[in-house]
Symmetry: C2
Subunit: 329 residues, 2 copies
């Protein structure tokens, strides 16, 4: 900017005003400055500008990760969410910073905000970090979390209606005559526990006994799903349906059953969760509970914008819907 000022024979004040289109500057001077800036490939230094104006257009997307497992980012639903957020954040004119934070030190996320790195945070992966997230909210960090609404919650969540989703899937399976429905997922996680609650309620409505042995604990990874299925089959517990907590798990289950000669949906019906793009191209096309990822991304950003504007957006539950395809006929 100093260079431009010198070449244009004016002060940096004038250059600054000219580039920001201030009406205080002569049109001719403005034009001269603009041309010089273009010819020098000059770009305003955003860091300095942000410092001076103490503004910022960056939203941070934080992904907690387990330092012990060194797990990588690969879950398709998760990645789709990232894509959706990239779209939504860009459309609102913000920049998007992706940050992986040690799950045991989520307060580091606060530093992203307090250090002026970003003006707000979207966190994907509520897991069991409820207390840490509450701490962040108490510190007045503008943060919106993708996940389930819990009691005693001071931070804002956006999530799909997991209870409803659990009900939809279970009701569908029951209405197709299934009664020994395996629940496949980790109910220690808030979102999954809500789905389990929906599952239980439908069973109760239909006077179907809830069997603890039909709860199969599995993390969201393919490896974990394979193992859990293996355990289940080995235990010889009879079942005629599986409600899996993600499409990826559902696909894993279907593949596993197929190698055992168990036919889907004839012998065992399967319903997944998420409706990722590949579910419809899977064979057989997957019956699943849809969470609209596009809507999710947009809603997260909207909630954050509200929060940053000083409002207190209430936790949001997005509707889910059952997509019936061929794994549950």
């Amino acid at each position: 900017m100093v260079d431009i000022a010198r070449l244009a024979g004016v002060s940096t004040s004038t250059v600054s005003r000219a580039l920001s289109g201030s009406s205080l500057v002569n049109d001719e001077t403005k034009k001269r400055v603009a041309e010089l800036a273009r010819s020098l490939n000059y770009t305003i230094n955003i860091g300095a500008q942000n410092l001076r104006l103490s503004q910022n257009r960056t939203i941070a997307v934080v992904i907690p990760y387990d330092a012990a497992n060194r797990q990588h980012v690969s879950d398709p639903f998760f990645l789709s969410m990232l894509g959706s957020l990239a779209d939504a954040i860009t459309d609102c004119g913000y920049d998007m910073l992706i940050s992986r934070v040690d799950a045991d030190r989520l307060d580091e996320a606060a530093q992203i905000y307090e250090g002026g790195r970003a003006i707000g945070i979207i966190l994907i992966g509520q897991w069991q970090h409820h207390d840490q997230l509450n701490d962040l909210a108490v510190r007045r960090v503008p943060i919106v979390v993708w996940g389930a609404q819990l009691p005693q919650q001071y931070y804002c969540t956006v999530g799909s209606n997991n209870v409803e989703g659990g009900k939809l899937a279970t009701e569908h399976l029951v209405s197709h005559g299934r009664s020994r429905i395996v629940f496949f997922g980790d109910r220690q996680l808030p979102e999954v526990s809500h789905r389990y609650a929906g599952y239980m309620q439908i069973l109760e409505n239909h006077h179907i006994p809830l069997r603890e042995e039909l709860y199969v604990s599995s993390a969201f990874t393919v490896e974990s799903g394979k193992q859990a299925l293996h355990q289940l089959l080995k235990s010889k517990i009879p079942f005629d349906a599986v409600f899996a907590c993600s499409d990826l798990l559902a696909m894993t289950v279907i593949s596993g059953l197929r190698t055992e000669g168990i036919h889907v949906p004839h012998d065992v019906a399967v319903v997944g969760y998420d409706d990722i793009e590949l579910s419809q191209h899977f064979h057989p096309p997957l019956t699943t509970v849809k969470q609209s990822i596009d809507v999710a991304g947009r809603t997260l950003v909207e909630a954050l914008v509200e929060l940053m504007a000083g409002k207190a957006p209430s936790p949001l539950l997005l509707p889910t819907s059952l997509i019936v395809r061929s794994t549950s006929a």
Copy 2:
């Protein structure tokens, strides 16, 4: 920082030095400052620090998008790459900024660098932007592109060996007795054109005539794949294999063929490209050419780091490998 200085009864200079662990500061003072900083939840303002030190630990990942189509980020290979980059960039201690840039104005990407927003750029999506990318390189923007190496190229690319990939797939199909192999993709794109070159060469090696009608142009979207397949089937051109330029396209093709009662691999063998995670869970499990996404992410970052260190890394070709599963027996 001023507050801390006042409370600790020292100057900001001392606070700055204390926090940065300078040996010039008395240990006792250091401790006092550190405790105050902790109790006040103080975090250093990174923007100001960057400005003063003219440093920066941010790498921008740029995704060109077509303003006309408003297409969203959803391709699974692409999303996996994003995840892989997030891992690699974080592991190297950098921050990751995601930026979608109008494909016709890629020079805007230069502003991210020149404006001090990031110290280097990784661009995913070479498409047909060769000239614009060359312009960026000429402007000395540290940029590494995921894509194919082209003649007259001044920017650094990292990509898989597409010619080899094309050969692997075609050779495999030919060796299984297929001779009317449809090539499914858009050969106007550099990477695809290299795969096509490999395809052609293997055909020639085996004295199989190259038939223009077996080239089916399709973009990387499901929609486009469906349409292209529809055209192909309508034209009644006989074929006994398909080499699709992505796993997503391969799955689309297999689904489409199945609804027409054409059996894979008995009637038509199919080979995909990418080896995304879901390919192995697809039914039938997909034979495909693997590009290792983990390696890709790490390599892109390494190349960029070299480039930023002032070296001139040569374009890199990552090896591809054929993963034989059940769609090509």
